[in-house]
Each structure stands twice: as C-alpha cells, then as structure tokens.
C-alpha cells in the first residue's frame, strides 16, 4: 500500500499550515487518534485555498497533501466530482482497478487504491476529504450533516 507517490506526499506535503479561510473544521479519527484542522477559502465557487494542520499516519498526511494539490484552484463542482471518485475508490475494498478515466480525474490520488484493501486505514485516507466536505458545507452555508 505504501506507493512511492504516497511516501513522497508524506515526506513533502503540499500546502501544509493554517492560513486564512472562510470556515475551519476539526476532525478526529477516534480509532487511531489522527487529527486534522482544516480551513477552506472560496473565491465564489472556486477553491482559493485549503490549508491544514494535523497529526497522523503517512496515509492521512499524504492524503491531505494530495487533497490540497488536486482541489485548490478547482471549481466546486469539479472538486465534488473528484471527491466522489476518491470516495468510491476508497470504499472499493481493493476491488476497483483504476482505469485511465479515473486516473485522469484522480491523478496522484489513484495511488491510494491499495489502501482500500485495509478497512482500518480507509478512514485515515478519507479524514482530510471528509473535513474538506464539512468545511465547504459550512463555508457555503449549507447545513449538511457531519459525516465523520
């Protein structure tokens, strides 16, 4: 499961640190103590920034880095498509072989395909993505329920 790409993101995370944002959320993975504080900044429907700080395993750290890399600069609608694809991949229990179309959407995030075989780690990979979803809902004033 430890693809080179994942280790790279882990060792050299993108966009780490807390910067100005429209909303801030704090998510915890109670089973392992992974934590993330994440802020989103929107410029209309465009994601201007995703900044974060947290502690956790290589998977959760790398995943937050990939999230930042993939989503910052995107329109909300596109970001949601990416998020949906990532969620699908992570819930596939290792049974989904990423094809070219998926790779186009998910880019570096396809490296997490192997993680989906490990139920205990799926939550690590999803932590920052769930936090982003939650923060977005808050920032844009929706009242979605927290899906920790």
């Amino acid at each position: 499961m430890y693809q080179e790409v994942i280790l790279d993101h882990y060792k050299h995370p993108h966009g780490r640190g807390l910067r100005d944002g429209d909303a801030e959320v704090h998510h915890v993975n109670p089973t392992c103590g992974d934590e993330i504080t994440l802020r989103v900044k929107y410029d209309g429907d465009r994601i201007a920034d995703i900044s974060y700080e947290g502690q956790g395993c290589s998977i959760s750290q790398a995943s937050a880095s990939v999230l930042n890399e993939l989503l910052v600069g995107k329109e909300l609608e596109d970001a949601q498509k990416i998020q949906a694809a990532f969620l699908e991949l992570m819930q596939s229990k290792g049974k989904l072989e990423p094809d070219d179309a998926m790779e186009e959407i998910l880019e570096d995030a396809v490296a997490f395909a192997g993680v989906s075989k490990y139920p205990a780690r799926v939550k690590c990979a999803l932590l920052s993505w769930m936090a982003w979803k939650d923060a977005t809902a808050q920032a844009l004033g929706e009242s979605e329920r927290k899906t920790a």
Binding site: V28, P30, T31, A120, R121
Partner: protein, 423 residues
C-alpha cells in the same frame, strides 16, 4: 407419519437430513435411550455449521476487533461486522447500524429500559409517565420495567390474559394512554405459545405517541421476522434459542432513536474520544457495545441465521405448525390433560404447556426424563401466568425445526406412563 396434515414432504423439508446436522440429537441418556429433546423454548441445539464457524474463528482469525491494523484484527472485524450484516438482513432491518449485539435478550431489554430511564425529553420515563407490559411476559421483560418504575417513579401497567391464553385487549384505551412512554410485550409467549396481535397494540401506541418494544425471543427462531413490517421501535431476541451460541443477543432499534438515546454501559469500543474530564460516544451501534464484544458468538449467530435462511424460515414455520397441530390433537386425547394457553394450533407457536391431573409437573418431567424425553417443568420464567391460572407450574413441550411426529408420539406414550406411575 408422512400423512400428517400440513407436514411438508421430505423433498420440501428433509427433517432427517436436518437432524443429522445436530450432533446433540444423537445423544444417548439413561442407559441407551436416545434423547427426545422437547425443551427448545429454553434453548435450541446447535448445528455442526455453527460449531464449525466458532472453531474456525478461534483457530484462524481470532483477534480483538475494531482497533488493529494487523491482518487478524482486520479479519476478525470483518467477520464480526459481517455477522451484523447477516442479522440485519435476517430481520429486514433498514440499516445494519440498527443492529446492536448484546449478551442475551435480557440485556437487550434492560438496555431499552435504561436508555429510556436516562433519556432526555421526549423519551424520558419519569414519575409523570407510564410503562405498559403484559401479564404473559417472560421475567426478563417484567423485572427491567419494575426496576425502571421503582427508580424513576413511573407507573407500571399491564394487559391481563383471557381464560384461553390470549391477551385481553378489551381495556386497551385505559391501559395505553397519553401518559404511556413505552409499551413492551412479547410477540410469542414462551409459556403458552400464544402469538400476540402486534398490530392492534402498535396502532394504539402510535395514537398516543408511545414507543413500542417487542420481545421476539420466541419468534425470531421460528418465523419470518421483519422489523419493518412489525413497525415497532425496538425488537429484542437471543442467539441461543435460534441455533446460535450462548452469550449473544440482539437489540434492533430505529436509527433516530439510537442516535438520540443515551448510552448504557460505558467503556472501550463505545466511545469516540475520552479525556479524564469527559467523553463523547461513537455512533450507534457501537455506542451501545461497551468492551470487547462477544466476537466469536456474533460470528456463530451469523452462521446460525445463514443456516436457518438456507432452509427457509417460512418452511420452518410450516413444519412447526404441522407438528404443533398434531401434538395438540394427540395431547388433547389424554384424560386429565389441561392446556395452559390456547387450545388450538391457530395463532400459536410450537410451545405447549399443560397440567396433568394433580400430578406435579416436577414429577411429570422427572418420569419423562427417565424415558429420555426432555421437557421443561416449572413456571418458565413467567410466574405471573401460573398465578393467573392458579397453578404452581406447568409441563412444557416445545418443538423446533428438527422435531418429528415420532417425537410427539414418544411424548404421548411417556405421559401415559406418567399417569400409570402416579395413578
């Protein structure tokens, strides 16, 4: 005996093949008598498939659940949570997260009582409110409510029983009122076999906004159980009566309720995060599963529902109904035998209580035992029913998916012997 009315033919329901799955049915007692096991309402026997699932779990996958990244922990978790999926499907639960594993039906029922005792409004049971049960409940659906009533000041009320072993619902409007917070009753009486009219009770409970808890301990093993069709709020049952292991029970509850109601037992597994000052709780079902759960036993229960489903609950029900009708007929021919409970096979399950003249049930049971026939005698943890009929105890024969007409005949012959012995 294949001409028994209603008995499925061997091609539809091969009872001899089923019996071969149950090692205990070959047990020989008292110098060479093969056991005739008619104590299924107390507990059922276990098929090889369930025992194998237990052994395989312990030999190949045993680990603690939910907390590990190693392969055994993941396998054990998948098996445990897989059992939850199976049970959810077995009772047609809308969501797997509505299935809570407990140690037995008694814990399930205590869990409901305690959730409500510690709940906030609108669920809170307190001195302004009322609890409704019935006179035909198992002690496990009486004592938790007595305790709750004592500890909260809520008033405990109950439905009585008619002479022929049915719930007396004639005063339903006085029993279930605007003050009623919870109505808890058994779907099938464990002493009389009565199948209770769920719909009438639920309708009235819904009118007044009371929650409904159904004790399905004697139903889940014997008939199709569909919690959505039942329309109750909670349904409790127990593994050991449905060809599963001891040490495992189930509480099904509606998701919104499980979200809103407070936890009962505290500890590992049921928390989200703990500090010395305060804790937050995991979402249901984990909120209600404190500590290391009965992992192997849940896996065994999963194998049990697989086993029952493969045969078909509808077929099991039909088989038992035919056996019951035959047993009622033959027992009814015995002089001095008085049924305690309905005297027809309609709306009744395969549990038959009776008295035999003034021979004490203990003596009936003992002399039957000497012939290798295992029945239960006593008040069957439903003493109010005995009080109601002015008897100290009954003899109870209860059948299951592996029971045969031949076993009914053995019982009838055995009872003849009892009569001669004490006559």
């Amino acid at each position: 005996m294949t001409t028994l009315p209603g008995l499925l033919t061997a091609s539809d329901y091969n009872v001899e093949a089923i019996r071969k799955d149950f090692p205990l049915l070959d047990r020989v007692v008292h110098d060479g008598k093969k056991i005739v096991y008619l104590d299924n309402a107390a507990t059922s026997q276990k098929p090889r498939q369930v025992l194998d699932a237990l052994t395989e779990y312990y030999e190949q996958h045993n680990a603690n659940v939910h907390r590990g990244v190693h392969v055994l922990a993941e396998e054990a978790t998948a098996l445990y949570e897989g059992a939850r999926d199976k049970v959810a499907a077995f009772i047609n639960a809308p969501s797997r997260d509505e299935v809570i594993f407990t140690k037995n039906a008694s814990e399930s029922l205590n869990l409901v009582a305690n959730m409500l005792g510690w709940a906030d409004e609108p669920y809170r049971v307190d001195r302004e409110t009322e609890i409704v049960i019935t006179e035909m409940e198992h002690h496990s659906n009486i004592v938790p409510w007595q305790l709750l009533s004592q500890r909260t000041g809520a008033k405990l009320k109950w439905f009585g029983i008619t002479d022929d072993g049915r719930l007396d619902l004639s005063n339903i409007e006085e029993i279930i009122t605007e003050k009623t917070k919870i109505v808890s009753f058994t779907l099938v009486s464990n002493i009389m076999g009565t199948i209770n009219p769920v719909e009438a009770i639920i309708r009235r409970a819904q009118q007044v906004g009371a929650l409904v808890c159904i004790d399905a301990s004697q139903a889940a093993p014997h008939m199709v159980l569909d919690v959505q069709a039942l329309q109750a709020d909670f349904v409790a049952f127990t593994g050991h009566k449905m060809v599963g292991p001891t040490g495992i029970g189930v509480l099904w509850g509606r998701q919104e309720l499980l979200e809103d109601l407070p936890p009962f037992l505290g500890g590992g597994e049921m928390i989200e995060t703990v500090s010395m000052h305060s804790s937050t709780y995991a979402p249901a079902p984990h909120k209600f599963e404190a500590g290391t759960p009965p992992i192997a036993q849940a896996v065994g229960l999963g194998a049990a529902v697989d086993y029952l489903s493969a045969i078909g609950m509808d077929k099991i029900e039909a088989h038992e109904h035919a056996i019951t009708a035959y047993a009622m007929k033959r027992l009814g021919e015995i002089p001095d035998l008085r049924f305690i409970g309905p005297d027809t096979a309609e709306n009744r399950a395969a549990t038959i209580s009776f008295t035999l003249g003034d021979i004490h049930p203990h003596d009936v049971g003992q002399v039957l035992d000497e012939q290798g026939i295992a029945v239960r005698v006593g008040h069957h943890c439903a003493r109010p029913v005995c009080l109601r009929y002015g008897i100290p105890a009954t003899t109870r024969a209860s059948f299951y998916l592996y029971s045969t007409p031949g076993e009914v005949d053995a019982l009838v012959d055995g009872l003849e012997h009892v009569r001669n012995f004490f006559g």
